[in-house]
């Protein structure tokens, strides 16, 4: 959208600065990508080599990956690591998919009620939703933890998914999208005999698709990376998501940088794939999501 603007004609000012811009941007790009480059290179190094400044491994090895995934023993200790890396992968994805699906669904329902239906007290309730958005997460963590303790939700999947299934932010975001859809469509559908559900499902939801995609990505990202809540909710490493698992890995094998980096690469890789695949939707969606920061 931003990029499309200047395609037609280039004025002299642009041409003169073209090279400067390209060079500055490329150097900045190199600086931003260096930590990633080092991460990938360290994950292909041997133990002996990982502590050298050399970026290019002299004897590249891919054995760090099977070691972290627990299919091969550590060459030095001849023991398999005490990790459940594959399990953590699954947990992260399962928790993220579950809470994203539920959150987008409940947010879409609520946003429809707040934007397309008329009922008494609507604006008051919505203001209440908005007001809670500025309350720091830590304020809610303590009472929510207490609630989880009394519900016996500690160390369960649903204890991680259900509290993440509702969000004032998602409701706010989708309401904003739905408000921009013309109400004339509802009226037309009503005249044709459609009920509220049909208006929601057949008229509003398809038109709110960009908003739904944006919210899905933002929520998925947040859930995949969530750390605080699983950290306090779980003490069984069977249920750890990747974020908490990485912490365990780092505290037990933190000295073995090459293993840690192999794990980091595997952690970040799915995100980079998602990012590359959805890059088109992301910019507009994330600008909207900028409210959340």
């Amino acid at each position: 959208m931003v990029a499309a603007a200047g395609n037609s004609k280039t004025n002299p000012r642009q041409k003169a600065t073209f090279l400067t811009r390209l060079i500055l941007l490329s150097i900045l790009g190199l600086a931003i990508s260096l930590p990633f480059v080092w991460m990938v290179s360290a994950s292909f190094k041997t133990r002996a080599e990982v502590e050298q400044v050399q970026i290019v491994p002299q004897t590249p090895t891919s054995q760090n990956y099977p070691i972290v995934l627990n299919t091969q023993p550590d060459p030095v200790t001849h023991k398999k690591l005490d990790l459940k890396f594959g399990r953590w992968y699954f947990n992260s994805l399962f928790i993220a998919v579950g809470s994203t699906f539920l959150q987008v669904l409940t947010s879409a329902f609520a946003a429809f009620a707040f934007s397309r239906l008329k009922w008494r007290g609507r604006d008051t309730v919505f203001m209440l939703y908005l007001a809670t958005m500025m309350i720091p997460g830590v304020v809610l963590m303590i009472p929510n933890y207490q609630a989880m303790v009394s519900l016996n939700f500690l160390n369960t999947y649903h204890g991680l998914i259900i509290p993440a299934a509702f969000s004032a932010f998602g409701t706010f975001l989708l309401r904003q999208f739905m408000l921009s859809i013309s109400p004339a469509l509802d009226e037309a559908a009503t005249i044709d005999g459609a009920n509220s559900w049909q208006i929601f499902w057949d008229v509003v939801l398809p038109l709110a698709r960009p908003g739904l995609i944006a919210l899905t990505i933002i929520t998925f990202l947040g859930a995949y990376q969530s750390f605080f809540w699983p950290l306090i909710m779980l003490n069984s490493d069977q249920l750890f998501p990747m974020s908490v698992g990485m912490l365990t890995l780092d505290s037990s094998y933190g000295q073995q940088t090459e293993l840690i980096m192999a794990a980091t690469v595997m952690n970040v890789a799915p995100l980079i794939i998602i990012f590359a695949a959805f890059q088109k939707f992301l910019v507009s969606g994330l600008q909207l999501g900028g409210v959340k920061g």
Binding site: Q14, K118, P136, S182, A184, D250, T257, F275, G289
Partner: protein, 496 residues
């Protein structure tokens, strides 16, 4: 947070909607059935909202007035305001001197109110703000000199911030006459001077009942030093990115990309075989990025710059922990090599394990993560909404790039900058938990513990839920001030 605007827009949309003859009966029919439907649609979300947000807020507030603890030995009781007085209060070391205490509190309040008033004065363009800015700049200079002479990091940095803010206000296009707008500046200067003057006496007479809180509050504020760098960097990147690079037609682009790739391979290969694989790889990488830029234009760079934000989380913090490793990390290996070349006989900083360097290390990581993130996207949106006539007019007037930026782009972007700043401050106040938990355990010597990590420790290590709730409400109050300022002055900013 932009409710009024949204309401207006909704009404505008509804107003435009065709209100035909059939509209009225249809609407009445719908109106009666809609409450039930709305309840149905709202129910799943509302139940979750009440259960996980609304009641917890009330519960947390109530907890802040109790000694609620997960330790079985502690008997539950209401403690009134004691959590708050323990947190914010002071106790006399020797005799105490209420007069001094009140004066100290008064000066603190004067400085804080002065800061809010200064923002107010600048946003509503009161008369005399230029003089006020100059006063603030002078006070900042004094603090900078004192702080660097006595090697107090915090005082010197506060001085720098005041100096920058003051100079910004003092360089506006207005006359130097005194006015209402000068008062906030004088308030800040007087308050800060008073605090500095009484500081030593206060330390001898009183000590805070919770010394940690003030230390961690200081840490939290200190970590926000990264914000101006991050915002400045985002703006710079957005300025470089917001227009397409004139890379020509598709065929030219393909040729350009191919040439760059070829050059990269050749130069990289030559340097590599000459015995410096590192430099060879970096050179090839740089050419590769240039090739990407020519092939995919600004989208390539935008994607690259956004990557750290998108992948940020525990994994990247562990990556940075490895980068910062004082003996085996690439940063210090590189610095060591650099020192060797320059002939400096010193150890590179020990980063995360050094009290002096732990905070800067986390700040640098934060700037790297956030520089091409959401802030950059917001600036890009702001730049694309810039009225083209203004820039053309500036061109006609023969303004250079700097003048065009200073007098057209920067003022036009002011709402975006304000919004980003406030959002960064709100985020900064609540931030630092993951970094502390993953990278430093809050150390060394508590130097990277922020308020959110303190709350976590109080609640989930000491199991002192009541006290932790009290801290979280104090944090909320500070965040609320920032949010309120955003409501008051950020009206022009709508994110879409």
């Amino acid at each position: 947070m932009k409710v009024p605007l949204l309401e207006e827009r909704a009404e505008a949309v509804q107003g435009k909607a065709p209100n035909g003859n059939s509209g009225k009966p249809a609407r009445r029919r719908r109106g009666s059935g809609q409450t039930a439907a709305a309840l149905g649609f709202l129910a799943p979300n509302l139940i979750g909202f009440l259960a996980f947000t609304f009641f917890p807020v009330l519960f947390s507030f109530w907890m802040a007035f109790t000694n609620w603890s997960l330790k079985p030995a502690v008997k539950f009781s209401y403690v009134g305001l004691r959590n708050f007085t323990d947190l914010l209060g002071v106790r006399p070391i020797t005799d105490g001197s209420p007069g001094l205490l009140w004066e100290y509190v008064f000066c603190g309040a004067l400085a804080v109110i002065g800061m809010i008033a200064a923002l107010w004065a600048n946003m509503s363009q009161w008369k005399g703000t230029r003089l006020g800015g100059a006063v603030i700049a002078l006070a900042g200079l004094a603090f900078l000199v004192i702080g660097s002479q006595q090697a107090i990091q915090g005082v010197a940095l506060a001085g720098i911030v005041a100096l920058i803010c003051g100079l910004t206000a003092a360089s506006q296009d207005a006359d130097f006459k005194p006015g209402v707008g000068s008062i906030p500046g004088i308030m800040i200067a007087l308050g800060a001077a008073g605090l500095w003057q009484m500081h030593t006496a206060m330390e001898k007479t009183y000590e805070p009942t919770d010394n940690y809180f003030w230390q961690y509050f200081y840490n939290t504020v200190f970590m926000m030093i990264g914000i101006p760098f991050s915002i400045g960097g985002s703006l710079l990147i957005a300025l470089l990115l917001h227009e397409d690079l004139p890379t020509g037609a598709a065929r030219q682009r393909m040729v350009g990309t191919a040439i760059c790739l070829l050059l990269g391979l050749m130069m990289g290969g030559i340097i590599w075989t000459l015995g410096n694989p590192n430099a060879g790889l970096l050179c090839a990488l740089l050419w590769g990025i240039v090739a990407l830029g020519i092939g995919f234009n600004v989208v390539a760079f935008r994607t690259l710059f956004y990557l750290p934000t998108f992948t940020s989380g525990v994994a990247l913090m562990i990556l940075w922990k490895a980068l910062y490793n004082p003996t085996t990390g690439p940063i210090n290996l590189g610095l060591g090599a650099l020192y060797h070349v320059l002939g400096i006989h010193a150890d590179p900083p020990h980063w995360l394990s050094d009290v002096m360097w732990a905070k800067p290390a986390i700040i640098i990581m934060g700037v790297w993560t956030g520089i091409g993130g959401t802030n950059m996207l917001l600036y890009l949106a702001g730049l694309s909404n810039l009225p083209k006539e203004l820039l053309d007019a500036a061109d006609v007037d023969g303004a250079g790039p700097w003048h065009r930026f200073r007098h057209v782009t920067w003022p036009q972007l002011a709402p975006t900058t304000f919004f980003i700043t406030i959002m960064s401050i709100i985020g900064g106040l609540q931030g630092g938990f993951e970094q502390a938990r993953v990278m430093t355990s809050g150390g060394p010597a508590g130097s990277t513990t922020t308020l959110s990590y303190y709350i976590y420790n109080k609640a989930f290590q000491d199991l002192d839920m009541g006290y932790a709730s009290a801290i979280s409400w104090v944090l909320f109050l500070i965040v609320f001030v920032a949010t309120a300022l955003n409501w008051k002055f950020g009206k022009g900013m709508e994110v879409d």
